[in-house]
Symmetry: C2
Subunit: 430 residues, 2 copies
């Protein structure tokens, strides 16, 4: 349940998509690493907040207690700490596992690919953070997914907001996960969860509401830096200062047109400590609506400066910032689009089919195809002793093979091969 096979047409599309994402990661100088699908259970413990119940655990068959990785970020942090790496730019494309309720039409699965790019190390503020946003911008532009928006916020600003609204520290994280629902449900519902389930006072909730419904650009950052209450909060001030710097860098990158500083963005995971962001597609190609509609998040990430320290025996911190591309949702969109267009993706790369028009020529085909393979040419033949020529040409058409190399008795006598263009039916003897 919640998993799927990828038949060739899907695997080809997915490989093409992953290749585009990896090309972007390499363009930004990232190295690849790989970590096991299995992690010790204790490694995953206490890293995912309320989502931890969705972790797949392995049966105790003797030996270590294991679980399937839930994301690629925690294994990366574990890797850095274990190998005492303090400086690294890496990407990782691999499957992760969540015992979530699958919603396969929306691209939500229990086994799914994540494509992560992270920068670890102590650097000048917001330079790596800005690069992560540039990467999201590049990938979503390259893939031509239509209009998109990258929402940006900072956990320090959110925490500052909570503080000046009178929320106790102990309720920051849980309030955060309630705020995070604002992209799916209206403020009224979020407010009632705050007051009901989370036990905030109605006044505090209303004060939060005034902040978290704000979004804008540099102007909003400036306004909040002047905000009589927020400007008194150290964390918020730091966050707003960095946010201003971030917007400066994004202006140099020329991408602020797609960026929104959005105080409702909270992100579900516990480990974020600074800037957070999430990209949403605004409208699907086939929608004929006037108002752009959000179809959900296709990328997300943020800064997590404390996670690596949780795995280091001496608690040594390695600041990190990273982005994860939501490849499954993008895959769903591209798949629907391909289906709608009627275009057929080739599932193989075969350049030439080796064919014979008469019987008793299997040996000739085997000899010729062997020469082609040895010359690095992608070649196929039918696995029949005496296939009909028509069947062989039909196979070319079905599979999109552009050329047929035909050897009959005449060609054998003349010491030539007849090369046929399958589409134009033109033939040359060579």
């Amino acid at each position: 349940q919640g998993t799927r096979d990828h038949p060739p047409a899907q695997a080809a599309l997915r490989d093409r998509l992953l290749a585009a994402v990896v090309a972007c990661f390499k363009r930004h100088g990232a190295a690849a690493i790989d970590t096991p699908v299995l992690e010790l259970r204790e490694t995953l413990l206490g890293k995912y907040g309320e989502e931890a119940k969705l972790i797949y655990e392995l049966q105790d068959q003797g030996g270590e207690l294991l679980a399937l990785r839930y994301d690629l970020t925690v294994p990366f942090a574990r890797y850095l700490a274990m190998n005492k790496v303090t400086n690294m730019k890496r990407y990782h494309v691999a499957k992760v596992y969540r015992r979530d309720n699958p919603a396969t039409t929306r691209g939500r699965y229990r086994e799914f690919y994540q494509c992560d790019f992270d920068i670890a190390g102590r650097f000048d503020p917001m330079i790596p953070d800005a690069e992560c946003l540039k990467i999201v911008h590049e990938i979503l532009s390259d893939l031509q997914l239509g209009d998109f928006l990258i929402k940006v916020n900072d956990r320090r600003i959110l925490n500052g907001v909570f503080a000046v609204c009178g929320i106790p520290d102990s309720k920051f994280l849980t309030t955060c996960s309630t705020v995070d629902k604002l992209d799916k449900v209206p403020w009224e519902e979020v407010r009632s969860e705050m007051v009901g389930e989370k036990g905030l006072s109605p006044e505090a909730a209303d004060r939060i509401g005034e902040y978290v419904q704000l979004h804008g650009g540099l102007d909003l950052i400036e306004r909040l830096l002047q905000d009589p209450k927020l400007s008194q909060n150290k964390l918020a001030k730091e966050g707003l200062g960095d946010m201003k710097l971030l917007f400066e860098y994004l202006t140099l990158f020329g991408i602020t047109g797609k960026i929104s500083f959005d105080l409702s963005l909270a992100r579900g995971l516990d480990y974020y400590t600074g800037v957070i962001f999430e990209a949403v597609l605004l409208q699907q190609e086939n929608d004929h609506v006037e108002e752009p509609v959000s179809v959900g998040s296709v990328a997300g990430g943020g800064r997590y400066d404390g996670l690596v320290g949780m795995f280091d025996p001496k608690g040594r911190k390695v600041p990190c910032v990273g982005v994860s591309i939501g490849i499954e949702r993008i895959f769903s969109i591209l798949e629907q689009r391909l289906k709608a267009s009627g275009e057929k993706l080739r599932t193989t790369e075969t350049q030439v089919l080796v064919a014979t028009p008469q019987k008793h020529l299997l040996a000739v085909r085997l000899k010729l195809i062997s020469e082609l393979w040895d010359a690095g040419i992608k070649a196929e033949m039918l696995y029949k002793k005496d296939p009909k020529l028509l069947k062989q040409l039909q196979y070319c058409e079905d599979m999109g093979i552009p050329l047929a190399a035909i050897v009959g008795e005449q060609e054998l006598t003349d010491g030539v091969v007849k090369l046929r263009d399958v589409v134009t039916r033109q033939e040359v003897r060579m």
Copy 2:
């Protein structure tokens, strides 16, 4: 235990190796598929004989009972049956899981990559089988692993041997797994396991011994076809006839020089029904021994005509033959060789570092690198506001980045960029 992280240098080597294997699979017209790491436990049940105890099971957390895949062959057969596919040439490169005793220096892990190529469908005999052997030959040649030998046998011949030696049908499979040890231990030990553990009569074991110590080429096939006892056995005759055909096709491919018909080859898994094969490296580069020594299997496979039928409600069979490349062992060899050579593999593909020689030029770097990224150029910069030029050039040398694009105050005024070749130190203004 028995798993490992791949740091960048290893990941780069592994990616290069996998790319070479996949290139060969594509050259032979295979399409990619992907299946989940998770399979239903019942899918894996009864497919692996004595090895089944090594399957990783997931905890029962409600819902289906799951296990981690043990190989890529059983999931492929399940895929074919589930989707009623009767005809397919596919490759699959992915990780599999076995709770085996790890022997990491010899490249044996609990999580490891398999690279499988399989041909499913009803075809004329031995044509797809011959292609599988051609693929092994191409891959081991391409990778320049040194001398190798591909041992070939047929389960039908083995079963015929057992029959004419007086072994009851019920003991064929278990006798098979004892014979399979002949590549690691001498005949005397195998014989005593047959007589002791497996309960064969000493005479029967001796008769088997006469056969399974034979190996050769077409001449041996001809001799066994004339063998007074074997030639009376229907299965053995069929197997020997097909083996002769196979050698004919391999002669046309020009690869019989590396093929040995070897009656000791048995393969551990239950599901093989026809031809079986295994490739071994004969000698490691650094060995100074006269006699070639086997360093273990680096590829294996065979025909399994009954496996798909086990997953079909009506038992409909789809004949299959396939090969699995033992990428981990090959990886270990290449890694050792790389270490010995002192060669350093680049872990990134960055073409140019954007650098500035004076302070207060971060904005210039950000603007230039953004233009390079947008033009598809792989570019990096240091994440510092004011890095020293020497540090920037040092980074190029450390990472093998061939070019530095330098913009200082002079270049800004002149509206140019200074492009420096890191190795030759030559500079051009452009």
